[in-house]
């Protein structure tokens, strides 16, 4: 895999647009603004940008689906994906360029950290084994891909929250278990941690 610092902007937009033109469900793939596709297939750029992009994009998608009444949805969908593809194309290029500028100005330590962020992943075999031991039947490859991706985002959410806690308490990294536990407690109160083991809370 290529060095994340050397991100090619030329290859990505063309690939994105051509691939998405073939791909019928263009609306859902609005959020495919992954700018570092050539470099690191499975890793996405910093979490801030996809979050910022998801909000305007999902708003646009919702507008499109509800839309003004009267026009048949099939006609509407044919016209708007073109405009949206162009808009997404520009947004993609913008984001890619911004990422390039950003990464090129990283210090050595920041580059290391960014590389670890992009390249670290859960081993597919272990995840597959884990899921299969729970279901008892085999699972498809896509399930493993999806699950390991979500697990990584989940781990990231916890670490980020724990770093917040650490900073708030006036401590320094490395993170200690008490930070992790407080982070979990906070995320639980925000319902970001699934819990299907019902706990009978008497005094709330």
């Amino acid at each position: 895999m290529a060095d994340p610092a050397r991100i090619k902007s030329e290859g990505a937009p063309e690939r994105t647009s051509s691939a998405n033109e073939e791909h019928p469900k263009s609306e859902e793939t609005e959020n495919v603004s992954a700018s570092e596709k050539p470099a690191d297939e499975k890793e996405l750029a910093s979490q801030d940008q996809p979050k910022q992009e998801v909000k305007p994009e999902t708003a646009a998608v919702e507008d499109e689906e509800e839309g003004p009444s009267g026009q048949p949805s099939s006609k509407r969908l044919k016209v708007e994906p073109e405009k949206k593809k162009e808009k997404r194309h520009k947004v993609d290029e913008d984001e890619i360029q911004k990422m390039q500028v950003l990464v090129s100005s990283f210090s050595e330590e920041q580059l290391n950290r960014y590389e670890m962020y992009r390249r670290s992943a859960f081993p597919k075999a272990a995840i597959k084994r884990l899921i299969q031991s729970i279901t008892g039947s085999s699972v498809s490859q896509n399930v493993v891909i999806a699950m390991s991706g979500i697990a990584k985002v989940f781990a990231g959410e916890i670490v980020e929250e724990a770093l917040d806690v650490c900073e708030k308490w006036g401590d320094t990294p490395p993170l200690q278990p008490k930070h992790m536990r407080e982070a979990v407690r906070r995320l639980k109160s925000r319902d970001q941690i699934p819990n299907t083991k019902y706990k009978n809370i008497v005094f709330h």
Binding site: I131, G149, P174
Partner: protein
Amino acid sequence: MADEEDEPGFDEELDDGTSGVDVGHGRRKRLFSKELRCMMYGFGDDQNPYTESVDILEDLVIEFITEMTHKAMSIGRQGRVQVEDIVFLIRKDPRKFARVKDLLTMNEELKRARKAFDEANYGS
């Protein structure tokens, strides 16, 4: 160490006999130690995170995967885990939803690219 894990059942499973076979966390060999260390560094922790923190995170991740799997088994086609179920469960969380969509799309692209490459090699 007196782990005050929020997850109930943690201590119970430790006290039960058959520790090697059951699905409880804590007893099994550490599955993701190396990868989680790199991940924690990538997400902002120190270059050498504490082992206890890595352990806690591993338990959390395994529990998360377990919960998701159980939920996915109970919706859609019962007893099986399919991608659609996972996407459905994740729909409310924008980050994870976007990530899954990206990953699956990229996977499709890669498969298509590989197929095209193979056909170019062996086709007419």
